[in-house]
């Protein structure tokens, strides 16, 4: 184990912690931006430090293709290659294959797929995924899991869950750098509480440095989503970090944090920036909209970032989707927003102000009090009273 996880404050199920990783001491809850190919699109590493990013995600599948894990290893690991002094996390590569490649197929051996380079059949085994991630050298590496769409039902879900448990042992056995890299296991089991429970127990028995809740954020209904998160966080050990994979909507992060999750990742904040959308306390602001053309106010008047301090909506409007600078500036703002949200979650939990923070957050996002029912349900389980920001008829 190469991490320390110290809980600094709690509010019911929510926790604020200090997560000490080989390259950085980070504060949870935290959002991790996705830097697929060894870069967050359009931002320099010094800007990412300015913004307050703590952990960046790299995609193993992409990095293994280009520049290859062998080259990254030869040049001293991904931290050095991209000159990022803080923490890194790599995924297993399995999810990317299944979602990006048409001809990916999962067998007991591993994920078979057609090479995008020469079209030949290739195989990614749990051993190989770990070997590649050992070469890339991230602070946190992920076990190869059997990924199925959350919307699928039936025996395939059960098969995938049991296979994920069999594969974790192969991953642990293959892991060559346990004192420098932390292997996280991934809880699978679809939307079935019984399967999720078996998976959690199986993984906890392996005493891993941290645990991820996988197979979510794939189009399932929101009530199913939070219930799975709530069930897993309740069953996972207190003293280990919990990472909900693929979650990136600010509202989802607030709800999951209330339920006791600590880490999140998603391409959403940077991807939506490239399409001209800014994250703001009220939800989203579409800078492409004609109404922005003559709006001389900042993107978010309450934001302290370099972009909001200097630029008007009107100026960003004339850049977005036409000039590279539009996506550079909006990505900057959106990540700043996510990091501010992470910091606010952390400090409000520590200061005992967490319910107040959640209410303020919901009030801004739902000024009419029309907080979605699933959020109300989740908050009830989390023990957060949000009646003050819900209209009596909602």
């Amino acid at each position: 184990m190469a991490l320390r996880f110290e809980i600094l404050g709690r509010f019911n199920r929510a926790r604020a912690a200090r997560l000490t990783l080989p390259h950085f001491v980070s504060q949870t809850p935290l959002f991790m931006p996705v830097g697929t190919q060894g870069t967050i699109k359009g931002l320099t590493t010094s800007q990412l430090e300015d913004i307050g990013c703590q952990i960046i995600l790299g995609n193993t599948y992409h990095l293994a293709l280009r520049p290859t894990s062998e080259l990254i290893d030869e040049l001293g690991g991904l931290h050095k290659f991209m000159n990022w002094p803080r923490a890194l996390l790599t995924d297993s590569g399995g999810f990317q294959m299944v979602s990006l490649l048409h001809l990916a197929d999962i067998t007991e051996q591993g994920v078979t797929f057609q090479s995008p380079v020469d079209g030949k059949p290739m195989l990614l085994t749990p051993e190989e995924s770990i070997q590649i991630q050992n070469r890339i050298g991230a602070d946190i590496i992920m076990a190869l899991d059997d990924v199925v769409k959350t919307t699928i039902t039936g025996p395939r879900i059960e098969e995938a869950m049991y296979r994920t448990l069999r594969w974790i042992d192969r991953c642990i056995a293959a892991h060559k750098r346990p004192h420098e890299q932390n292997l996280f296991g991934i809880v699978q089991g679809g939307l079935d509480p019984v399967l999720r429970d078996i998976c959690v127990k199986g993984l906890v028995d392996r005493d891993l440095p941290g645990y991820a809740i996988g197979g979510l954020a794939g189009g399932e209904d929101k009530d199913s989503f939070w219930r799975v998160v709530a069930q897993c966080t309740a069953a996972l050990p207190e003293e280990k970090p919990r990472y909900v994979m693929g979650v990136g909507y600010p509202l989802d992060i607030v709800v999951c944090s209330a339920l006791g999750a600590d880490m999140y990742d998603c391409v959403y904040p940077t991807r939506t920036a490239r399409f001209g959308t800014a994250l703001v306390p009220q939800g989203v602001l579409k800078l492409k909209h004609h109404a922005m053309a003559n709006d001389t106010g900042p993107v978010d008047p309450t934001c302290e970032c370099m972009v909001c301090k200097n630029y008007s909506r009107a100026y960003i409007h004339c850049l977005v989707t036409k000039d590279a600078m539009g996506s550079q500036l909006l990505s900057y703002h959106n990540l700043f927003y996510m990091m501010k949200l992470s910091r606010d979650l952390h400090s409000s939990i520590i200061n005992g102000q967490f319910p107040k923070f959640v209410c303020n957050f919901l009030q801004k996002m739902f000024p009419k009090g029309d907080v979605p029912q699933w959020v109300c349900n989740a908050m009830e389980v989390a023990g957060i009273d949000i009646t003050s920001c819900c209209s009596p008829f909602s």
Binding site: G38, T39, R66, Y315, H317
Partner: protein, 405 residues
């Protein structure tokens, strides 16, 4: 705006001091070409990592804002400085920028100049142009010109001079009526006809302008005929006003312009290099014959003054673009990383390269000024040109081919 010449050098170069917008800038100087007021890939926080005050001069085309934002809105915000959050920078407006606002002489007519832009073709009349200037409030601005390439007929060339002078008068009259601020740089055209160039320079010098903009170069005239054309113009112009030029981009062309007494240049060269994956690497400390390191065996169009970071030889190269370079990119990243970024089409490649190239080209201008101040500009120019020529006989043509590719 105030301008004074501080030193002359053998070989024709002059060093001056341009005081504008609260900045004291030494000339010859480079104006950074922008897209809508910001360098193409360098955001304002990264812009501040470039040497100051050298990087404070920004050139833009008011035509960049014909779509997406109204002049009224820009005016309400207080002009470009406020809109861009760059209050300490100097903005220079030029309707043509040779990247996203290209003069289209075939569509220009007696009432206005035509430009090709990403938002389509626009015919701009002097009245409209001065209105844009009034709302954007640049520190200095170039008057509307009818720029034509070298190959047009004599009649068309004469018409371009007549129109440009007439539009200059229109701009001056409208400026008084609109109370437009900013120093006016009168446009001089005349294509590749010495007589027309002279006539235009004489007419413009008679007007009440703060400086001059020499347009219509880099449009098909040969490098040989250019020197005579440039000198014909600068000999007529009063010495105490700055001279800006558009269309001279390559280092050799800049040196040619400096020799002819030009003070201000633009950086479209950097833009094209950056998009092509090229990084400037000519040494700034000692430009001597055979001073370059000997690594010309590769066939990646390495002419000893720049390298192509897309080339596979940099795949494992963990050194910075230039060991001695103090720019953000060289201080933080390796060639191997930038090569990877180009391979996977990541925008950070252009960001890092534009930073290095801008930093390096600003350094080149500093060297030019030093040489003029030391009275050694002619040797400096000769050494530079010969070393490049020695390295690759086809260097200039290769660059031109790259630029037009």
């Amino acid at each position: 705006m105030k301008f004074s010449v501080k030193a002359w050098s053998k070989g024709g170069g002059r060093a001056g001091l341009l005081q504008v917008g609260g900045c004291s800038l030494e000339t010859p100087a480079l104006l950074l070409t922008t897209r809508k007021g910001l360098p193409t890939f360098i955001s304002p926080d990264l812009l501040s990592s470039l040497p100051t005050p050298d990087s404070r001069l920004l050139q833009f085309s008011p035509l960049h804002f014909l779509e997406g934002i109204s002049s009224k809105t820009i005016s309400e915000m207080g002009g470009l400085h406020q809109m861009l959050g760059l209050r300490d920078h100097v903005f220079a407006a030029n309707p043509a920028d040779s990247i996203t606002s290209i003069p289209d002489y075939q569509s220009s007519n007696k009432i206005g100049a035509s430009f090709e832009t990403p938002s389509g073709r626009f015919l701009v009349k002097p009245g409209q142009y001065v209105e844009m200037i009034s709302s954007m409030k640049p520190n200095m601005w170039v008057t509307l010109a009818d720029e034509v390439p070298a190959w047009v007929s004599e009649k068309r060339n004469r018409a371009s001079v007549d129109r440009t002078v007439r539009w200059l008068d229109d701009c001056l009259t409208l400026t008084i009526a609109n109370n437009t601020g900013g120093a006016i740089l009168g446009s001089i055209v005349g294509g590749s006809k010495i007589d027309d160039r002279k006539r235009c320079a004489q007419e413009v010098s008679k007007r009440n302008v703060s400086g001059f903009h020499i347009g219509g170069f880099g449009l098909g005239e040969s490098m040989e005929e250019r020197s005579a054309l440039l000198s014909a113009v600068t000999e007529i112009l009063p010495e105490d006003k700055p001279r800006q030029i558009c269309g001279l981009a390559l280092p050799e062309e800049v040196l040619q312009g400096v020799a002819a007494g030009i003070d201000l240049f633009n950086s479209t060269y950097i833009y094209h290099l950056t998009l092509g994956g090229f990084a400037l690497t000519f040494p700034l400390e000692e430009i001597e014959r055979h001073g370059f390191s000997d690594r010309l065996s590769d066939n990646v169009r390495d002419d000893g003054t720049k390298i192509n970071l897309k080339a596979t030889i940099y795949r494992k190269d963990t050194s910075p673009i230039l060991e001695s370079c103090k720019c953000y990119t060289c201080q933080n990243h390796t060639k191997a990383y930038i090569n990877h970024l180009f391979n996977v089409h990541e925008m950070l490649a252009q960001i890092l390269l534009e930073i290095h190239n801008t930093h390096h080209y600003l350094g080149f201008f500093r060297k030019i000024r030093d040489a003029i101040n030391q009275g050694t500009f002619e040797e400096f120019r000769q050494n530079f040109v010969e070393t490049r020529r020695d390295h690759n006989a086809g260097a200039t043509t290769a660059v031109v081919a790259t630029l037009s590719a």
